[in-house]
Structure formats: structure tokens, C-alpha cells
């Protein structure tokens, strides 16, 4: 901003109601401003994974230290993917730019940046595709919407493909089902080929690869965390819960995102699992090797999804379990539901899942052999196997945020609601165009939930926050429930900024609060160590 003109505030503010002619988007390069871009991956993480072009660099540098033949690499990669993914090929070809998706992206709604309209995000890549792979593009160039791949275009890709949370909301409204998540995923794969990636994704990936979890905690550290929780649970309930680790011959392997071991408020959900499994006497085991349900490979490349996901079946086989149970997580369930069995299956060594408590056969998981905890718990409640006292959650006035992936990639909508309504007395839905398949992203998925990107996140979170504030004003809602580890971290920031006084938490935290356990002492505190009743606070 230049201060040469102080005549009127509107001059200083660059207000222009008649900005014409418009600069075409193809000719508007990206401006990297602090707070809106993400730090690049440290070289050491790429080395650990054997990925190309490890180096130290910054998006604000003029020179991004690309390999000399970067263009050739990208073009070859693009060609390869056009021949491997029909989704990608089609989505490059059939968009008619009708505009149905324009105002569906939380980043566009919150930032007003036109390149955050899903259609334009995809056009960033389509324009290059047309230039090199279509007849009309080769013949007519710009008239056919084609443009050459330049370093500026590559920078634009980096900026905007790491400003998409792969939430698939736009895909719900597209008349051809064009899914920007597919385009973003391939866009990121291409960027990865020349060493353009972000540390917030690559570090968890590198850690998960070697240590089994995102934070890079070694096995004895993980065990220690679980024991810590067992201690806490004993303080609250008087019960020393069972903690089976890497136990061969257990019936069920349990896998959940590691965020739940280390980060509040996910830890309370994790305590909830421990208590629930103890109470029903489940023959199960935790694993330190497959201690990560999350899979940041999804934000890197299809190959990386497979490399990280392979551990789950491998560990199930090694331990000789019958089937696998998965915890509350969002993108983890996109991977488990839509990719795992195809990538690393068939898991013939496992059995079709049957609940040992109710005898229910989980028909919907008979091939992949992995059941969602919400399906499992809903089934327990339906069969009356849990003694629940919802009044212990009476301080909680809850609403529920559908996490993008369980909603739009798996259709898990009713199970969490059923469980919530059985453990919590006051439950209120947010407006209908912001929940279920139309749910708004937390703004921090797909590797965007880091600190340096906080401003961008807050913009992206605004549509969700706005709906939340509506139920806060109308119904005094004070708890935002979700079943996603990224949500539990990022929504906490969201409420802190947009809706103070609303806390965030997982569903099994409330289940465990309400769960009447055999032989427990009288509960005076919830899992957070806060008094159960208002009166006791005084």
C-alpha cells in the first residue's frame, strides 16, 4: 500500500466499484502473503521418504530451486495420470463452467478470492491440460482456454492446491459430479514430483512411515501416553481399565488417529474408547506399529496413501486378529472406506466382522473387515448393552459438525446422531444447508491445519462458524461435537476466534461420561476433570 494519497479514506482502502477491464485470471499471478501460505517441507523429511528434490526453500523466494527439467517431469506426470484415472481425465474434459459450484467452497465464501471458486481452482490445471493434450487447445490456444505451463503457473498451483481441503462439498452440487478433491489430489501429486510440498503434510508422513504415528513418538512413548490415560480414568472412575498392547491373538485390532493420544481435546475421546472397551469386556488390542489411523498420504499422493495404509492390514495379520475397529476420524475414513481394500486388500486372513457383544454381523464391512466405531457403538446402544446416564452430560448443550469425509465419502450420517442422542439430553442441529452432505469444512483439513496458515484457516472456517454462532445464539449451544481428529484440533481454534464459550469434543468422550461402569465410584468429575454439576462448582 502506498501512502501518497491521503485525501479520502476510500482511496487509502483501494475501493473500486467499477474495476474494468478485469484482469483475466490467467494473467493474475499469486502474491504470497504471510498467514496465507504454508511452509515448505523440510529436506530431511523428503529424504526419509525417498521423495524427489529435497532442499530448503521458501514460497516467497523468487527461485524455487526446481530441477532443470521440471516442466518435462510435470508433463510426463500429467500424461501418466490422465491415462490412469478416469475421474481426472473426465474432470479435465467435461466441465461446462455453469457456475453451480462457485459459491459452495468455504474458502471462497470466507475469502472472496475468485480463484477459490472450485471451478477456477480446477481451471488452473485444466488450462495447462488443454494446451498440451487437446486438439482445440493446440489449435486455438487462449481462445480455447489453454495456457502454457510456466513457473508462475506452478506457483499458482502450489498456492491454490494447498488452499483446498479436499472436502468434496463442491462435488455434491456439480451436475457431473466433478470432484475438486480429485483435481487437487492429482495437482499435489504433480507438485510432489518436483519437490513442491508442505512440511505440515510431509513431516507427519515421514514420522508415520518410520514411527507409526504423525508425531514420531516411539513405541514406549505411545505406551506411556496410554498408561497416563489409564491413570486419569482410575482417578475419575476408580476403575483400572484394561490396556492390551500389541497383543497377539486378540479378536479385534483397534486403530485410531494418533492425535487422540497426544492432543486435547482428542485425549478425552481416547479415554472414552478405553473405558467403553473395558466395560463391555472386549477382547481387543492397541498397536504401536499401526498406531496411526490418520493418513496424510491422502494429501500427498495415491502411492503414499498405500505406503502408509499398508501397516493396518499387515499388523492385523501379524497379530492374528479377526477384524479391525477404527476410531473417530475424518480423512482416515476416506482412506479406510474408499481406498484401503483396493490398495492393500483383499484381507482374506481376516473374518467378516461380528460384534462379540451383540452378535450383529457388520454386513457393510464384510469385505474390508474394518468397522467404524460409531457403527459399533450405535449397535451396542440399540441392543441395550450399555448402561447410560445421559444426565451426567447435562452441562453439555451439543450440536454436531459432520466431518467432510464421513459425510461425503462414506455416508455416515445417522450413526453419530443416534449415539449423541442417547448420551446427551440437549442436542441441536445447525441449519440444514450446513450439515450432513452439505456440511462446511473446518477449514483445516488436507494438511492445512497448521499455525502459519491460520488466517486462511479462519477465513475458511467462517461459514462453519457462522452456522455455529446461530445455534449458540438460539439454543445456548456450548459444545461442538465432531468425529474427526483434525476437527478436534482445528475447530478448537475456530471456536476460540469465532464463537468463544463453545468447546469442542469427540462423541466417545460423552459416551464415556454417560457410561455407568461396573464397580465405579460415584462420579463427580467428567473426563476433562470438570465437575459434573453446576452446583458442585460453587
Amino acid at each position: 500500500m502506498e501512502l501518497h494519497n491521503l485525501s479520502k479514506p476510500q482511496d487509502l482502502m483501494n475501493i473500486d466499484l467499477n474495476k474494468t477491464p478485469e484482469t483475466p485470471w490467467m494473467d493474475t499471478p499469486v502474491n504470497f502473503r504471510d498467514g496465507t501460505y504454508i511452509y515448505p517441507a523440510a529436506g530431511k523429511n523428503l529424504k526419509r521418504l525417498g521423495l524427489p528434490n529435497p532442499r530448503e526453500w521458501s514460497p516467497t523466494d523468487e527461485d524455487w530451486k526446481l530441477p532443470d527439467n521440471w516442466k518435462e517431469i510435470i508433463m510426463k506426470g500429467l500424461k501418466e495420470r490422465l491415462d490412469k484415472y478416469r475421474s481426472f481425465r473426465l474432470f479435465m474434459d467435461i466441465c461446462v463452467r455453469c457456475g453451480a459450484c462457485m459459491d459452495k467452497c468455504h474458502f471462497f465464501i470466507g475469502s472472496g478470492d475468485p480463484k477459490n471458486m472450485p471451478v477456477l481452482r480446477a481451471e488452473l490445471l485444466r488450462s495447462v491440460y488443454r494446451n498440451d493434450f487437446t486438439t482445440l487447445g493446440k489449435m486455438l490456444g487462449r481462445f480455447a482456454g489453454a495456457r502454457e505451463l510456466t513457473v508462475d503457473v506452478l506457483k499458482e498451483w502450489f498456492y491454490y492446491f494447498f488452499q483446498c481441503t479436499e472436502c468434496r462439498r463442491c462435488s455434491v452440487f456439480c451436475p457431473y459430479g466433478i470432484d475438486t478433491a480429485e483435481v487437487t489430489m492429482i495437482g499435489r501429486e504433480l507438485l510432489n514430483l518436483v519437490g513442491l510440498n508442505i512440511n505440515w503434510v510431509m513431516e507427519p508422513v515421514a514420522n508415520c512411515y518410520r514411527f507409526g504415528n504423525h508425531l514420531g513418538i516411539p513405541p514406549h512413548g505411545v505406551k506411556d501416553m496410554w498408561e497416563f490415560m489409564v491413570d486419569d480414568i482410575e482417578n475419575i472412575t476408580g476403575i483400572n481399565v484394561n490396556l492390551p498392547i500389541n497383543k497377539k491373538g486378540a479378536e479385534i485390532l483397534f486403530v485410531t488417529p494418533s492425535g487422540d493420544y497426544f492432543a486435547d481435546p482428542g485425549t478425552y475421546t481416547c479415554m472414552g474408547y478405553l473405558m467403553l472397551f473395558h466395560e463391555i469386556g472386549l477382547d481387543y488390542t492397541w498397536s504401536t506399529y499401526a498406531s496411526e489411523g490418520g493418513n496424510f498420504g491422502l494429501f500427498t499422493s495415491h502411492e503414499m496413501i498405500k505406503r502408509l495404509n499398508a501397516k493396518i492390514y499387515a499388523e492385523a495379520k501379524r497379530l492374528g486378529v479377526k477384524w479391525i475397529l477404527g476410531g473417530e476420524c475424518g480423512h482416515m475414513w476416506r482412506v479406510i472406506h474408499q481406498y484401503m481394500e483396493t490398495m492393500n486388500g483383499p484381507a482374506d486372513f481376516l473374518e467378516a466382522p461380528v460384534s462379540p457383544i451383540t452378535g450383529t454381523k457388520f454386513e457393510n464391512a464384510k469385505q474390508s473387515k474394518m468397522v467404524h466405531i460409531m457403527e459399533f457403538t450405535a449397535d451396542l446402544i440399540k441392543h441395550g448393552k450399555l448402561k447410560l446416564d445421559p444426565s451426567r452430560n447435562r452441562k453439555v448443550r451439543a450440536t454436531y459438525h459432520d466431518s467432510c469425509n464421513p459425510a461425503r465419502a462414506a455416508g455416515l450420517l445417522e450413526e453419530p446422531r443416534y449415539v449423541i442422542q442417547n448420551v446427551c439430553e440437549d442436542f441441536f442441529e445447525m441449519p440444514e444447508n450446513t450439515i450432513r452432505e452439505q456440511t462446511f469444512c473446518c477449514g483445516g483439513g488436507a494438511g492445512l491445519g497448521n499455525d502459519e496458515n491460520l488466517e486462511m484457516r479462519m477465513r475458511g472456517a467462517f461459514p462453519r462458524a457462522n452456522a455455529l454462532r446461530h445455534v449458540q445464539d438460539k439454543h445456548d449451544v456450548n459444545r461442538l461435537l465432531c468425529m474427526c481428529a483434525i476437527d478436534r484440533a482445528t475447530l478448537t481454534a475456530l471456536t476460540h476466534y469465532w464463537a468463544p464459550d463453545v468447546s469442542v469434543g469427540g462423541i466417545h468422550e460423552l459416551v464415556a461420561n454417560a457410561l455407568v461402569m461396573d464397580g465405579e465410584q460415584e462420579r463427580t468429575e467428567d473426563l476433562r476433570g470438570e465437575p459434573l454439576n453446576e452446583e458442585e462448582e460453587e
Binding site: 475421474s87 471458486m117 513405541p219 499387515a314
Partner: protein, 334 residues
């Protein structure tokens, strides 16, 4: 290049095409070229082009089953699953595709947003987009079907029926068809929307303006030749039947406006396979819509699945064995 340039380039292109036809037939009498040769070439390009494009798509594998689920998936027996929004069998997929193809289900979703609270219940461009899209496509379809009457004798009864329903309001002689009006209105709406909505103009390419203007050109020339300059339809039918039965004859004296109409149709046929208009075929192949949400229920094979480098349990244990033993975590190798 900005949207205005794209718009004017498209406009000039369509006007040039009209002039080519007028000049070719009117001035230098290339009736056979425009009446027989070009139509045959256009149809050949159209048919071969579409088949080629579809095969091109079809031969690309679908490595993963990635439906966008828009409703409750099938899980526990007592939870009602939504087979149309989150299909769990082939019937569900067929139903979902039918809603998408025949009723533009996803576009319709936009309307929901308009009905909720707010200072005033407002119009929404989104609802109009659905309506404009539906009117445009169905009017186009009806008009194409109506044209069958020119190619075969006797005229099939369903075509007669369609024409009589379509021309039900006989306000003028010859009949003005409702679908002609609907097509013109819808195409004009879709065009104006692109021009006047700033954010839509921003994303529009020449490839978006050109087909709309071309179709408007076809519709306008069609209405003009029928209702204003009254082309001799018997001669047109003679030409069309000739083309259709592969015994082409070119009756002398058909008005130039007919050749303009025909030439623009030919250009559309040729342009179709190479453009976004292929969405008509592509929608059937879209993996987010035509796959069932049975991912954990049924095996799905990726034809190019390949082995990847993984970090095995043995390597992991080698890294941490001593610490694991110390912490009392069971290990495979002592």
C-alpha cells in the same frame, strides 16, 4: 485475454459462419457442397468423434471407487439407507444416474438454500440455473425429435404426436412451437447470465460463449426459415430424405436461410466431439456418481495396482526392540 474478448471472438466466429453459408450458396451456388458434402462430413465427424472420445475415456481405468455420498449409506439394518443419494446396489446407481441425467438432481440441490430464513425470501440465480438448464436441454431434445419428420416417410406417429402437443397453442400460421420459444429463451438466459454475472463472466472462456451463440444462431435461423421467410418444406424434406437414404439430391431453389441453418448445425456436429459439449456423454462415466457406496462390502480391483515400498514391522521392531522390551511391549524377536 479477458471474457469480453472471448465473447466478441465467439460472436464474430458465428457471424462469419453465417456469412460463409450465405456467400457459398447465395453468391456462388455451392448448393451441393452445403447441402450434401458438408452434412455428410459433419455427421461422420460427429459419430466417429463421439465414439472416439467415449472410447478414449472408457479405456482409462477407474482405479478407485469414489462415490460422493449425499445421503445415509447402508450400514446397520435398522438405519434407513438412502439408495438414491448413497447407492448400495446397481438399482440405486441406476436411479441416481437417472435423477442426474433426466432431472439434473445436483443442480436442483441449489434451490434448497433459497427457502430458508433471512430478511426476505429471495430469488436465487441457482434455481434459475436449474430451470434454464432443464428448459434448454428438453427443448433441444424435443426439437431434434421433431426433425425426424424430415428424414422419414411416413412420419412416425410419436413424432406427429410430439409436434401436435408442442404446437398446441396455434397462435400463428404456420405453427409456432413452444419448444422453439423455450429454447430461445433458455439459451438467451444462459448467455446473458454468462455476460452479466461478474463472477461467471470471469470464469467464462470463448469455448463457453461460442456453443451458446452457435445454438442461438441455429434456433433463430430455424424460426426465421419457418415462420418468416417460409422455406418450402417439401423441398427440404426431399433433400433430407435423400441424405438419409444415401441417394442425395439437391432440389433447386431452396432459400439460402435454410443453408445457413443447415451449415450451423453441421458446425455444431463437428464441434461437439472436441468440446465441453461432450459432457453429455461424460456424465454417464463420472465415477463420483456412477459407482455404488459399497466400498467396504464388495471387493474393488485397481487394474494398475502395484507394490510400493513400505516400512515393515520387522524394520520397525529392529529400530526400537530394546526400548520396547524395557517398556514391557511384546516383541517378535527376542
Amino acid at each position: 485475454m479477458n471474457a469480453w474478448t472471448s465473447l466478441f471472438a465467439s460472436l464474430i466466429a458465428v457471424i462469419a459462419l453465417v456469412l460463409v453459408a450465405l456467400f457459398g450458396v447465395g453468391a456462388i451456388g455451392l448448393d451441393t457442397l452445403f447441402g450434401v458434402v458438408i452434412p455428410y462430413i459433419a455427421i461422420a465427424v460427429f459419430v466417429v468423434g463421439i465414439i472416439y472420445r467415449i472410447l478414449e475415456w472408457a479405456k482409462v481405468p477407474v482405479p478407485f471407487r469414489i462415490p460422493t455420498t449425499c445421503g445415509q449409506g447402508k450400514s446397520l439394518p435398522w438405519i434407513k439407507a438412502d439408495n438414491l443419494e448413497s447407492p448400495y446396489n446397481t438399482w440405486g446407481v441406476i436411479g441416481r444416474m437417472a435423477l442426474e441425467v433426466f432431472l439434473f438432481r445436483s443442480l436442483f440441490r441449489n434451490t434448497k438454500a433459497e427457502l430458508r430464513e433471512g430478511p426476505n425470501v429471495t430469488y436465487g440465480s441457482a434455481k434459475w440455473l436449474w430451470l434454464g438448464g432443464i428448459a434448454f436441454h428438453y427443448a433441444f431434445l424435443t426439437i431434434v425429435l421433431r426433425h425426424i419428420r424430415f428424414f422419414v416417410e411416413p412420419i412416425p406417429s410419436f413424432v406427429e404426436l410430439l409436434s401436435s402437443v408442442d404446437g398446441f397453442f396455434q397462435l400463428l400460421v404456420p405453427t409456432v412451437f413452444l419448444t422453439d420459444i423455450a429454447l430461445l429463451a433458455a439459451a438467451t438466459f444462459l448467455f446473458l447470465r454468462r455476460v452479466f454475472l461478474p463472477q461467471l463472466r470471469y470464469i467464462s472462456l470463448a469455448a463457453d460463449f461460442f456453443p451458446l451463440l452457435l445454438i442461438l444462431g441455429i434456433a433463430i435461423s430455424g424460426v426465421l426459415m419457418r415462420n418468416v421467410w417460409k422455406v418450402d418444406l417439401l423441398m427440404v424434406k426431399q433433400l433430407a430424405v435423400g441424405l438419409f437414404t444415401l441417394h442425395p439430391t439437391v432440389p433447386a431453389g431452396i432459400s439460402s436461410i435454410f443453408y445457413v441453418h443447415l451449415f450451423l448445425v453441421c458446425v455444431l456436429l463437428v464441434y461437439f466431439p472436441f468440446s465441453k459439449l461432450m459432457h453429455a456423454g461424460g456424465v454417464f462415466l463420472s465415477p463420483t456418481r456412477n459407482t455404488a457406496n459399497v466400498n467396504r462390502m464388495e471387493r474393488y480391483v485397481n487394474p494398475w495396482n502395484y507394490p510400493v515400498k513400505v516400512h515393515s514391522y520387522a524394520e520397525y521392531e529392529d529400530d526400537f526392540r530394546e526400548k520396547m522390551k524395557e517398556a514391557g511391549i511384546p516383541v517378535d524377536k527376542e
